[in-house]
Symmetry: C2
Subunit: 136 residues, 2 copies
Amino acid sequence: MNSGRFAISVHILTLLTFAEDEWTSSEYLAGSININPVLVRKELSNLREHGLVLSKEGKSGGSKLAKPAGQIFMSEVYEAVKQKDLLGKGINSPNPACPVGRKINDHLDSLYDDAEKTLLASLGKVSLAEFCGKFN
Amino acid sequence: MNSGRFAISVHILTLLTFAEDEWTSSEYLAGSININPVLVRKELSNLREHGLVLSKEGKSGGSKLAKPAGQIFMSEVYEAVKQKDLLGKGINSPNPACPVGRKINDHLDSLYDDAEKTLLASLGKVSLAEFCGKFN
DNA sequence: TTGTACTGTAATGATAAAAGTTACAGTATG
DNA sequence: CATACTGTAACTTTTATCATTACAGTACAA
């Protein structure tokens, strides 16, 4: 799983939840997360592609949630930021002359798939709204 | 979760399972995995600390499983290699002046803990022996 | 009792991935 | 048309990962 992108995305979405329906600037978001605004925009761009946020260009532009926080689940955020697989699948290039090396990646893949399904089920139980409820 | 260490450890343990009760050298393991022997020894050192393998120094030395493959579970391997947490916890240093930034790491932690419990339960169902059974 | 084949680990260097920074074109708004 | 934003590309810096070299320690076996 990718290092800190999940945390950054959840942080962004949490701030947008508290901003209600306001268009929030990447500068402001970057200030709370304490990272570079360009990184925030990249992450927003990804969240946008996955239908979680909307952005508006131009003066008084910014971003906001694409749907109510009660309808956004942590599993969606996970799906949005994942790129490598959960446990680091397919990074090595085992020796194909070895009977184990030749087949292990396939077997690891199916192990990972099962584990990831369980993880998604768990994250799918928590909505952004519930998560934000913890701040009160 | 750490990139490829889980895969390397499972690969090592699989090779040791097929080696039956032989002491297997790090050189041989490195050949199948196609990585550097020193990295293998480091990973073996970690697996040893976690009680999963035994090593013998000196000529005709090497490593073998510390217990039968039916009694080693993927959850143990996961626990052995994890260092950072699952989803990249605690990497950012959010702005403490922001009410969200100030508390988000705690809330993320509890989210991660729950998700990880589920993941461990899933990996705990698969023994090394079962995993190795797939190669036949 | 000495050569050999291993482990264990530290130190260093190379490569790759992640994050920060600068820069600037594009776009709404007033 | 000035302003305050977004969206991206290009470049640099930082950090993490992996490979390599080196060598001390250990057990076996001739």
